[in-house]
Amino acid sequence: MDYSNQIRDIAAKLFAEGKIDVFVGYRMSGFDDNQVPVVITDPKETSVLVFTEKSVFNLTNYLKADHTRNKRVGLVVKGCDSRSLNLLLTESQVKRDKLYIIGVACEGVVDDKGNKMQNCMECFIPDAVVYDEMLGKLQGKKDYIVNADITELATKGLVERREYFEEIFENCIRCNACRHSCPLCYCAKCCIDQETSTLYNGTNTSSSAFHALMTWSLHLAGRCVDCRNCEKACPSHLPLHLLHKQNEKVIYENFQNHLAGVEEGDRGAFYKYSLKDPDDFIM
């Protein structure tokens, strides 16, 4: 999977035609074979753009930054990125006519060590769902697979699970990197950061980590697209996907196979209902 040349050409063309002000893509990090995002405003810089299986970061995160707000933006999206973009469009955070989207039929990205990422192995929509231009051969939808870690955890006992998650919350250093790197966390001021939220208040205890991470994951339930930006940003390498994948699994199994960001105009599982939703857990 190498679309570097095509993306360079498209970006150069877009700048030449005056269709965009900013282009968000990837470039080589310059010190190893990993890639970092790049925000280009100068047409001459388009030659640095690359796209390979090392293009991991979800670029839709940059749509909430100062550099791209109210500007015409061109950007590259993979399958999962396009789903978050879809949600941002639905939630009126970005305007479709200000974007030029280069969709990619993604064959999966790899982590630092060169192994295919877990979310790519379980990916069910590898092709971008919203795009102006498509690169690569469409692969079509695949079957939804329940996350392997969740399946494994579900077999464990209550106390065992409690111990495992306690470790996660204890190792959290409350830097909020997960939230800031999440493309769908765009609130101007997060509810758990409010000064009135005396429970959290930025302290670093397992209690405040529990509070912040649980609230965060529940506010993203039915919206999370599993791009793993949060895990990439986490300095403690916490398996944050567990919280999201658990919610995703429950939502998929109980709410008519709902998957976030797949259909245009879908606001997420919690913004609609069905009379047939499970009721047996309620007295």
Partner: protein, 277 residues
């Protein structure tokens, strides 16, 4: 470190509603020995905490020459100040740490004419100095107080201003931004009144100014125009602070810590700071 951050308890003796959103809290330490010992210079600040809500930085708005109490004037602006306005009643206890920061150069300005330029809640730190200077009246020459606010209702310390007006050795000039019925004083923004009405004498005069950032900006410009040299203009800065001890790094501008090296700066010192305002 943590021991330095523990506040002492003080009792709210009196609450004075200055304007719709400014209240003055008259405080006394619960520990009387501490109240005896507690002294400060005009321009210094304290960390005022409403336990359970948070800590805020306020300047002491009364002078140490008036013993037995100290005042903090608090404007309702953020979460903690709103809580303070909502929850604190006379007799309640709050936490106080301090005093911190530097102060107005009371020795250096001796024997000079003083011009105070204040806007809105910015009169609070000036009030501390004005009270100090009134109590040491013989050390200083002419007194002029120029004070402006958006409306007449927003003028703080109304009773005290009346007292100052009665004092023949003090010239008080009041102004509001827009004309109102029954308003007999000046109308116009502070810098305009400064140039058109006050017309201060430049020689041997020190200007002490405090107010909202926008007022400070234009006042400094008009003082420049009037011909004041930057060394003779003194102002106090506003910056978010949390520890007051020069540790938490919040008030850091360049290599200056506002909480230790400030909050009182001359205009000349301000000009040397990196342009962060």
């Amino acid at each position: 470190m943590e021991a330095l951050l523990v506040p002492s308890l003080a009792k709210v003796d009196r609450i004075i509603q200055e304007t719709p959103d400014v209240r003055t809290y008259r405080l006394k330490f619960k520990d009387e020995a501490l109240m005896e010992k507690f002294t400060w210079e005009p321009g210094q600040f304290v960390e005022f905490s409403l336990l359970g809500s948070g800590e805020c930085t306020f300047c002491i708005s009364s002078s140490a020459t008036r013993k037995g109490y100290f005042d903090c004037s608090i404007k309702k602006a953020g979460v903690v100040t709103a809580d303070i306005h909502l929850n604190i009643e006379e007799g309640d206890e709050v936490g106080i740490r301090g005093p911190y920061g530097n102060w107005f150069p009371v020795e250096e300005i001796k024997g000079r004419n003083l011009l105070f330029v204040g806007g809105g809640i910015g009169l609070a730190p000036l009030r501390s100095l004005i009270q100090y200077c009134i109590d040491h009246r013989t050390d200083y020459k002419d007194f002029t107080i120029l004070y402006g606010a958006r409306t007449s209702a927003d003028l703080c310390y109304k009773e005290e201003i009346e007292e100052w007006k009665k004092n023949t050795s003090i010239k008080v000039v009041l102004t509001i931004d827009k004309a109102e019925d029954n308003w007999k004083e000046n109308v116009g923004v502070v810098p305009k009144i400064l140039e058109e009405v006050v017309k201060p004498e430049i020689a041997n005069t020190k200007v002490i100014t405090c107010g909202p950032p926008i007022m400070i900006k234009y006042t400094l410009q008009s003082l420049d125009r009037l011909g004041f040299s930057p060394e003779h203009v003194i102002t106090t800065l506003e910056m978010k602070m949390q520890c007051g001890l020069g540790k938490c790094g919040r008030c850091n501008i360049g290599s200056t810590y506002i909480c230790k090296d400030g909050p009182v700066f001359t205009y000349a010192q301000l000009k040397a700071l990196p342009d962060e305002f």
